[in-house]
C-alpha cells in the first residue's frame, strides 16, 4: 500500500553533521543554563535580617499619604511618623514627633509641641512648617489620596477636598505653625479620637524637599528621607522589602531590631510552611494563615487569635423589589444561624454579630440587633428556642410583606468575590450555608453568584446585585468609623438605603461635645440600622491571628485597631544566639 522511498534521508551523509550540530547546540544550551543560573543566584546571598516578617500582599505604594492597604500601611508606619504614633500594646495614640499636646476647652483646638531636634533620616530637620506642608499636600485633591477623608475633621478639610473652582478663593486647612516647634490644629467639631487620627499614615510628615524635587515617585529615589523608626534599604516586588533602623529617629535607642526583612506573598500554605521551618519569625496577618486549619492552629502556642475592629456582613439591595421592604430584609436576617457560620466555616473564634460596631469601644455599648436573643443564649436548648421563635417571626414578616410561606418570592442571587487568597473560599462557603438556611426555614431559593473581584466592586457600586457580601475594617476606635458608612450619600453605603433620620442622628452626634449624649445618639442610629431597617445583616466580628513563637519573638500585642508597629518587635536574645549557633539549618519544628 505504501511506497518505499529509495533515497531515505536518514542514510545521507548530512545526517552526521546535523546530529553533531544538535549535540553541540545541546552542550551550548547546558552551559548557558549553568551560566544564567550562577549569575542569577550568585547575587542573592546577603546578610540575614534580625527579624523576618511576613506582610501578606505586595505593597501597592509606600507613599504614606497615598497608600490604602494594610500591608502598605505597616511599611508606611515603619518609615514615617506623625505628631502621634501607635502604642504597640493598645493600638491607641501616644506621643510621636510631638512630645505633648493641649486641647482647648471646647475640644476644637489642639496645640502640639514637637520634640527638640527631630530630623529625617537624611539629616534635614523637621519643623512645624513641615507638618503644615505635609498635611496640605495630603488633603490636596491633586495628590489623589484616597483616605483624605481623615482630614474632614479638620477645619475646611472637606471643603478643600471637594474644591472645584481653581486655586483662587480656596479655603485654608485648619493647621498652622505657631513657631518652629508648635503646631496648632483647628477642628470642625470636637473630635475625641483626633490624636488617634494623627498617628495614621496619611497624617505623617513627609520630606518636602524630596516630594517637590521628584514628584509622585519621590519614594523611589534613594536615599529616601524617612521620619519614622526605619529607613528603606531595598525593595524587590513580590519578594521582600529590607528595612534598616533610622539612626536619626528620636527614639532610635528603643528600636530593638537593627534590620527587618518584610516578605510579600499571597499563599497561606506557603507562609505556614516558611513559618514552621523557621524562615519567618512573625506572620502579621491572618490572610496568610490557612483558614482550613485555623481551628487546629489556634490551639498551638505559636498562633495567637485576637479581636479587632472588623465586621463581616451582607448587603441587601434596598432599591430592588422585594428587598426594598424592610420586613423582607428583617425576615431574611432572622433565620440566619450565625453561630453555625462561625463554628463550622470561619473557625478562627469569631464572635457572631448582630450589630455593626464591634464590641470593645470605650464608652459605647453597642446596639442590639436582629437575632440577639439567639446570640445571648447560654444553653443549646435556649438557643434552639430562640432560633425557633425567630423563624416564626420571620415567617410572619414575610407573610405580611406578601409572601406567605415564601410563595411568589422571586429568585434572588447572592453575589460574592471569588479568587484571591484563602478568604475567598470562605465567602462561597458562607453563601452556601446561608442558601441552605433560607431554603430550609423560609422556602426561599437563592442562587450563588461568584464574580471576580473588580466585577464585584463595580456591580456593588452600581447596585447591580440582589444580595452581596460586604466587610469593613475600622480605622480608629470610635463607632463613627463604622456608622458613617451607611449615611445616604456615603460612597461606601452601596445598598441604596436612604434614611433621613439616620443621617440626622449622625450629624447631631458629630456636633455634640458631650460624650455621653454623643454615644446615645450613635446608639440610636445603630439600632435603627441593624434592628429596624436592616439594609445590612451583620454576620460576625473579625478575629485576627498572629503566628510567632513567644519564646523567640517579643513586642507583639493584640489590639482592637490592629496596629502592630514593627519598631516594637524583636527576636529574643536567647533565640538570636541559638539561631547563630544553628547556622543556616532549618530551626524549630514543633
Amino acid at each position: 500500500m505504501l511506497l518505499v522511498s529509495p533515497n531515505a534521508p536518514g542514510t545521507s551523509p548530512g545526517a552526521f553533521c546535523v546530529s553533531r550540530a544538535t549535540a553541540s547546540a545541546a552542550l551550548a544550551l547546558t552551559f548557558l543554563l549553568a551560566l544564567v543560573f550562577v549569575v542569577g543566584t550568585g547575587c542573592t546571598p546577603r546578610k540575614p535580617a534580625d527579624l523576618v516578617i511576613h506582610n501578606t500582599s505586595e505593597p501597592e505604594t509606600i507613599d504614606p499619604h497615598v497608600l490604602t492597604g494594610q500591608p502598605d500601611g505597616r511599611i508606611g508606619s515603619a518609615l514615617f511618623e506623625g505628631l502621634t504614633r501607635f502604642n504597640p500594646e493598645t493600638g491607641r495614640a501616644i506621643p510621636g514627633l510631638a512630645e505633648r499636646w493641649e486641647v482647648s476647652a471646647d475640644g476644637r483646638v489642639y496645640t502640639f509641641h514637637l520634640r527638640p531636634k527631630i530630623a529625617f533620616s537624611t539629616g534635614e530637620p523637621i519643623s512645624a512648617d513641615d507638618f503644615v506642608w505635609s498635611w496640605n499636600r495630603a488633603v490636596d485633591p491633586l495628590t489623589a489620596a484616597d483616605y483624605a477623608g481623615f482630614y474632614f475633621y479638620i477645619r475646611n478639610g472637606r471643603a478643600i477636598s471637594n474644591w472645584t473652582n481653581g486655586p483662587a478663593g480656596r479655603p485654608t486647612l485648619g493647621i498652622r505653625a505657631v513657631d518652629p516647634r508648635t503646631v496648632e490644629v483647628t477642628l470642625e467639631n470636637p473630635t475625641p479620637f483626633f490624636p488617634d487620627l494623627c498617628a495614621m499614615r496619611i497624617m505623617t510628615v513627609v520630606p518636602r524637599f524630596a516630594v517637590e524635587r521628584y514628584g509622585d515617585q519621590w519614594v523611589r529615589h534613594s536615599p529616601l528621607p524617612c521620619s519614622g523608626p526605619y529607613q528603606l534599604v531595598s525593595w524587590r516586588p513580590n519578594d521582600r522589602i529590607r528595612l534598616k533602623k533610622n539612626p536619626l529617629y528620636w527614639d532610635a535607642a528603643n528600636v530593638p531590631s537593627e534590620t527587618i526583612d518584610v516578605l510579600s506573598g499571597d499563599s497561606p500554605s506557603t507562609a505556614l510552611n516558611l513559618f514552621l521551618t523557621g524562615e519567618i519569625d512573625f506572620i502579621v496577618d491572618k490572610t496568610v494563615i490557612p483558614t482550613d486549619l485555623a481551628d487546629t492552629l489556634k490551639q498551638r502556642p505559636e498562633f495567637h487569635p485576637y479581636n479587632y475592629l472588623g465586621n463581616y456582613f451582607v448587603r441587601f439591595n434596598c432599591t430592588r423589589k422585594p428587598l426594598d421592604d424592610a420586613r423582607v430584609r428583617r425576615a431574611l436576617s432572622l433565620v440566619i444561624d450565625k453561630r453555625r457560620l462561625v463554628d463550622r466555616i470561619t473557625r478562627m473564634g469569631e464572635r457572631p454579630a448582630d450589630a455593626l460596631v464591634p464590641p470593645g469601644m470605650e464608652g459605647y455599648e453597642g446596639a442590639r440587633g436582629l437575632g440577639r436573643n439567639a446570640l445571648d443564649a447560654r444553653t443549646p436548648a435556649e438557643f434552639d428556642a430562640a432560633m425557633a421563635a425567630n423563624v416564626v417571626e420571620a415567617k410572619r414578616l414575610l407573610a405580611e410583606a406578601g409572601f406567605p410561606e415564601g410563595r411568589g418570592f422571586p429568585r434572588l442571587s447572592y453575589m460574592f468575590n471569588a479568587g484571591g487568597g484563602g478568604g475567598a473560599r470562605m465567602h462561597e462557603q458562607i453563601g452556601i450555608e446561608m442558601q441552605a438556611m433560607l431554603q430550609r426555614h423560609l422556602g426561599i431559593a437563592i442562587d450563588m453568584r461568584p464574580v471576580e473581584y473588580k466585577t464585584y466592586l463595580m456591580e456593588m457600586s452600581q447596585r447591580n446585585y440582589d444580595i452581596c457580601r460586604g466587610s469593613w475594617i475600622g480605622d480608629y476606635s470610635d463607632p463613627t468609623t463604622f456608622l458613617d458608612m451607611f449615611q445616604s450619600d456615603n460612597g461606601n453605603n452601596r445598598t441604596g438605603w436612604r434614611n433621613a433620620k439616620y443621617d440626622t442622628l449622625l450629624e447631631r452626634a458629630a456636633a455634640t461635645p458631650d460624650t455621653r449624649e454623643r454615644a446615645r445618639l450613635l446608639l440610636e442610629a445603630e439600632t435603627l440600622l441593624v434592628r429596624d431597617e436592616a439594609p445590612i445583616m451583620p454576620l460576625h466580628y473579625y478575629v485576627g491571628m498572629f503566628a510567632y513563637d513567644p519564646e523567640r519573638v517579643g513586642g507583639i500585642y493584640p489590639n482592637l485597631t490592629d496596629e502592630h508597629p514593627f519598631s516594637a518587635i524583636y527576636r529574643k536574645p536567647r533565640a538570636l544566639k541559638t539561631a547563630a549557633a544553628a547556622g543556616a539549618a532549618p530551626a524549630t519544628r514543633k
Binding site: 500554605s269 482550613d292 486549619l293 479568587g419 475567598a424 462557603q429 442562587d447 453568584r449 473581584y453 466585577t455
Partner: protein, 310 residues
C-alpha cells in the same frame, strides 16, 4: 503491503474500518480502559441520582471520615463526597469532551490545511494562532462573561427559570474551547509539513487526487496518532483550566462541583498540620484513573487506526 513484523493478520476481505475495529478489540488494555471509562460515565450519571444524599445538600456531619453512611466521607458543609465527586465528574467529562471536540474539529482542520497549503496561507493561519495564543485568556473570559452573560441569561430565562447556571456554562465552554485548539493546530501542522512531500502523497497527487481527498484519505490517517495523543493531553489540561477559571469566579456556579474544583479544594489538605485525606484522594483518584484509562484508550485507538497496519 504486508510486513513480517505484524502478527495479527486480519482477513483481507474486511473493510478498513472493520479491520481497525477488530484490531481495537484485540487490544486488551484498550478495551479494559474503554469499559472502565464507560463505567465512570454511567456512575457519574447514576450516583448523583441514586445516592441517598443530594450533591448540594449539607448536613451536620462536617468532615466525617469515610463510613457506611458516607462511603467517601463528607466535606465542610457535611455534603457527601462520593455524590459530589460523581456529579463533578459529569461536568468535568463534559468540559473535557467539549475541549477535545473543539480541539479535534478546529485544531486538526486548521493545522492540516495550513501545513498542506504551506507558503503564505500557512504563514497567515499560523500567525492567527500565535495572536490568539498571546492574548491573555483570563481577560478574554472576563470580557466575554461580563458583557454577554446578562443578555444570554435574560434570553434563557424566557425558556426556563433555572437557566441562569446554563448561561455561565455556555461561556465557560466558549472560553475553554477558544484556547484548547491552538497547540493542536501547531502540532498537526508540523507533522503535515513533513508528510506532504512524502512519496505516497506525491504519488496520489500525480495520480490526480484532489486536495480534499489527499488531506482526508492520506494525510489524516498519518497524523491520527499524534492527534489522539495530543487529545489525551488536552483533556486534563482543559479540566484543570476549568478549575482555575472557577477559582477566579469565572467558571461554574456553586454549589455545583467539578472534579477540578474538588481537587483544587482538596489540595489544601496536603499540609503538615491536619489532613482530611478523603477530600483529595477520591476526586484525585477518579480523575487520575479516568485520565489513565483515556490514555490507554487513546493508545488502542491509535494502534487500531494506524494506516501502516492495514
Amino acid at each position: 503491503m504486508s510486513d513480517s513484523n505484524q502478527e495479527p493478520i486480519v482477513s483481507p476481505r474486511l473493510s478498513p474500518g472493520a479491520r481497525a475495529w477488530r484490531r481495537f478489540l484485540d487490544n486488551r488494555p484498550a478495551t479494559a480502559a474503554a469499559t472502565f471509562l464507560l463505567l465512570l460515565v454511567v456512575l457519574s450519571l447514576a450516583v448523583p441520582v441514586l445516592s441517598p444524599h443530594a450533591s448540594a445538600e449539607g448536613s451536620d456531619a462536617q468532615f466525617a471520615s469515610p463510613s457506611f453512611s458516607h462511603w467517601w466521607g463528607t466535606d465542610i458543609h457535611g455534603r457527601d463526597v462520593m455524590t459530589r465527586v460523581f456529579a463533578g465528574a459529569r461536568l468535568s467529562f463534559l468540559v473535557g469532551a467539549v475541549g477535545a471536540g473543539v480541539s479535534l474539529v478546529i485544531g486538526v482542520c486548521w493545522g492540516m490545511v495550513a501545513g498542506y497549503a504551506g507558503g503564505r496561507l500557512d504563514g497567515a493561519m499560523m500567525r492567527f494562532v500565535d495572536v490568539l495564543y498571546s492574548l491573555p485568556s483570563i481577560v478574554f473570559v472576563i470580557v466575554l462573561i461580563t458583557t454577554l452573560e446578562d443578555h444570554l441569561r435574560g434570553f434563557l430565562s424566557h425558556l426556563s427559570p433555572q437557566a441562569g447556571g446554563v448561561a455561565r456554562m455556555v461561556f465557560l465552554f466558549f472560553g475553554l474551547g477558544a484556547v484548547s485548539w491552538l497547540t493542536m493546530a501547531r502540532i498537526v501542522r508540523g507533522q503535515v509539513l513533513s508528510l506532504r512531500t512524502r512519496p505516497f502523497v506525491l504519488a496520489s497527487r500525480a495520480l490526480g487526487a484532489g486536495h480534499a481527498r489527499i488531506l482526508f484519505r492520506h494525510i489524516l490517517p498519518n497524523v491520527a496518532g499524534v492527534v489522539i495523543v495530543y487529545l489525551t493531553l488536552t483533556v486534563p489540561g482543559i479540566i484543570l483550566y476549568e478549575s482555575f477559571l472557577s477559582y477566579l469566579g469565572l467558571g461554574i456556579q456553586p454549589p455545583q462541583a467539578s472534579l477540578g474544583t474538588l481537587i483544587a479544594e482538596g489540595a489544601a489538605q496536603i499540609n503538615p498540620i491536619r489532613t482530611y485525606w478523603w477530600l483529595i484522594a477520591f476526586p484525585g483518584g477518579v480523575l487520575a484513573s479516568a485520565l489513565l484509562a483515556l490514555n490507554l484508550l487513546g493508545d488502542g485507538l491509535r494502534d487500531a487506526l494506524d494506516p501502516r497496519l492495514g
